[in-house]
């Protein structure tokens, strides 16, 4: 696994590089702005770029723009965006405009090596990654008259993992269920939420998120 880190905070670049090195991830470059990021991506062809959403000059959402550019120019390079904000709209925008190989995590997740490496691996394999906190906030807010209320607890668990961008295989492993059972749960969820079933993994994530945000 080869990654590039883009963050304007030197302290964080340093810590993250060392941490990743410890767990066997090769950090081929670490840079402080999106211009340098795009150059390093072109030069080094990493598996994933870890990008802070706020970078110079405006320190608002340069990272999102860089992620989209990378998606267009180097579709094989995944992007993991880091943000201090729990903002589902950024996530939606990313998922909308990139078909897979993208993730959105809260910045503090980087210290959880397992989560971080899991996210990098999944992105490298072409999946999407959405921070569990964002999914929780969407899933757990109180609702009235929502089809989500008809789901069983197990179905909610499956839905949560789907929203985090996990594949059927991954869900089955996480919940210790057979792939067949997971598929049955997903079928039920789609029926209850009145969603058209789709074999396209990416579209499935988007559809689930849209339902969570809209209801």
């Amino acid at each position: 696994m080869r990654v590039v880190i883009a963050d304007d905070e030197a302290l964080l670049r340093e810590g993250l590089s060392r941490l990743l090195a410890e767990v066997g991830v090769e950090v081929v470059a670490s840079v402080g702005d999106s211009g340098a990021l795009l150059r390093r991506v072109a030069l080094d062809s990493p598996d994933v770029a870890i990008v802070d959403i706020k970078m110079p000059p405006t320190r608002t959402d340069e990272g999102v723009a860089a992620a989209l550019t990378i998606g267009r120019q180097y579709p094989g390079v995944g992007v993991l965006l880091l943000s201090h904000y729990l903002d589902s709209r950024y996530a939606m925008r990313l998922l909308d405009e990139r078909s897979g190989r993208v993730g959105y995590l809260l910045k503090e997740r980087v210290s959880d090596v397992r989560v971080l490496v899991d996210a990098l691996n999944r992105i490298a394999e072409g999946e999407c990654v959405l921070d569990p906190s964002i999914v929780s906030r969407l899933l757990d807010r109180r609702r009235r008259d929502s089809p989500l209320q008809q789901l069983t607890d197990r179905e909610r668990q499956v839905l949560r993992l789907m929203a985090e961008g996990r594949s059927n295989h991954n869900i089955a492993a996480t919940l210790v269920l057979s792939p067949k059972t997971v598929e049955r749960h997903i079928g039920n969820i789609f029926t209850k939420l009145d969603l058209a079933e789709s074999d396209d993994y990416h579209r499935r994530v988007l559809a689930v998120l849209a339902v969570l945000r809209a209801t």
């Binding site: 302290l11 964080l12 767990v23 910045k107 503090e108 980087v110 807010r141 609702r143």
Partner: protein, 580 residues
Amino acid sequence: MAGGLRLTRAAQLVVPLIGVLVGLATFAIVRGSPGYAMAGASTFLAALELAAGWLLLCAATVAVRRPARRLFGLAVWLASLAWFVVEWNTPGVGSAWAFTAGVVFATVYPVVVTDAVLRYADWRSGAVTSVVVGGAYLSTIGLAGLLPALFFDPAASGCQECPANLLLIRAGPQVVEQLSRAAVYAGVGWAAFFIGVLGWRLARASAARRRAAAPVVVPALVFLGAVGVDHVHSWGRGYLGTDEVDRRLWAVQGSLLILIAAGTGWSYVRRRRTRSAVAKLVVDTADISAPGGLDRSLGAALGDDSLRVLYPLGDGRWVDHAGRPVVPDDSRGMTRLTRGDVPIALLTHRRGVLDEDGVADEIAGAAGLALDNGRLQAQRRAQLADLRASRGRIVAAADAERRRLERDLHDGAQQRLVALSLAIRLAQLRPAGQGDSSASVRLDRAQMEVTAALAELRNVARGLYPRELADEGLSAALEILAEASSIPVTVDAPVERFPHPVEAAAYFAVAHRLADTAAVQAAVSLRRDGDRLRLEIEDDGPPGDLVRIEDRVGALAGTLSIEPAPGSGTRIRVELPCGS
């Protein structure tokens, strides 16, 4: 200027009395020697003469009562005397003193009348005009009066019955003839000049000014025409005589003097009408108490819809009735109303509307109460606006500070905490001593603390000033606020940017309400309505304490209203001015 000419009450009685007596005496003189007198031909002419003189006397008596008109009044009074004196250089006068006065002043009346008319219209001030008026006095009193009187022997020139000329030095008919001729020539000149000046100034005057001056100036023009024609008629003869043409022209002049006197009376009536219209304002309090009511009432009284009353704030600024600052517009007419020397209001109006002198004083007097009321209200509103602006600035400054703090938290504290948590994690990966499990547990606990601190910090920062409110606007911020809310909230808001203070006020109104309410669900809707932003928050909780919302809304001159909503809930309506 008229202040120095104070007339005592006695003088105000004596002056008209002298005029009445002079008129009666003149009437007697005319009856005594009808052959020599201008008005001798008929009783009608004698009555015309008397009417002209006495009407001028009336006009003078009315005018001298008003300080601003005092000089004009005196000029008219002198004109009426000069008009009568014409008849005194005749045998019927009886007294040598009066006869001599008649000889000296016989031809001066047109000049005095013109002088009075110029004063009436306030056109006396021009340098050339002053010189010509002075010259005309010199010509009529000197050339045609005093100088020939030194050489004029009435008996030698064929008037045996005439009283003696007290100024006679020695008889010199040729000198008299030459002086009189020169005076006639000069008379053609000054008459033409006066016609020109009056006509030109009348044509150049503003409409209102022309309306005020015309009743006096127009008959004066015709009068001067008759005077000029008489002088031209006398050109060959060399003196102003009493032939048939002279008498007819004199009768025309008398008729016009009556019109001139009536003209001054007409302007007096007009002033009275204005005054009563203005005085009506005081009674019209119901109308005046409405916003801008005094502007409308005064405008109606003076016939100018565009009239505005401005009030002083005392610091050099002027405000309108609503307390809005106004910079007086030089291109419009402006009249300052004062009490004592203190300005109480400034009227802006069409040019010429308030040209007539004294009207401003009358307004200040008659509408004094209403003006005071208007001034106090305007000042209060201006203070209110100042206060509101200051509140707005305080809130804006606080918001800017909140945004700065929010950024500082994210860019500073939060980054450092993340770095710290990374450091802890690194320490965990390479424990100091092999198998030191208690150190690992302690590091785990530290890691949890840092994670909790980060989550708390994020909430604090969001509460200070949500990033998306500044970057993306109200609808994005409300959407995320609803997403993070502990109760279900529906949001209906247009994706549109509003001024920062308005967005912040609306956002925090919703945020405060969602934080404070005991409701289990809420609905927020937002829409622009012209230059207002309308926000509605409906939930199923009781009203509770809304002071924090009120403060923000009030600082922007917005309104807040509360009404019950279905299910013992509350509907909060907020309206904020947001420009267009």
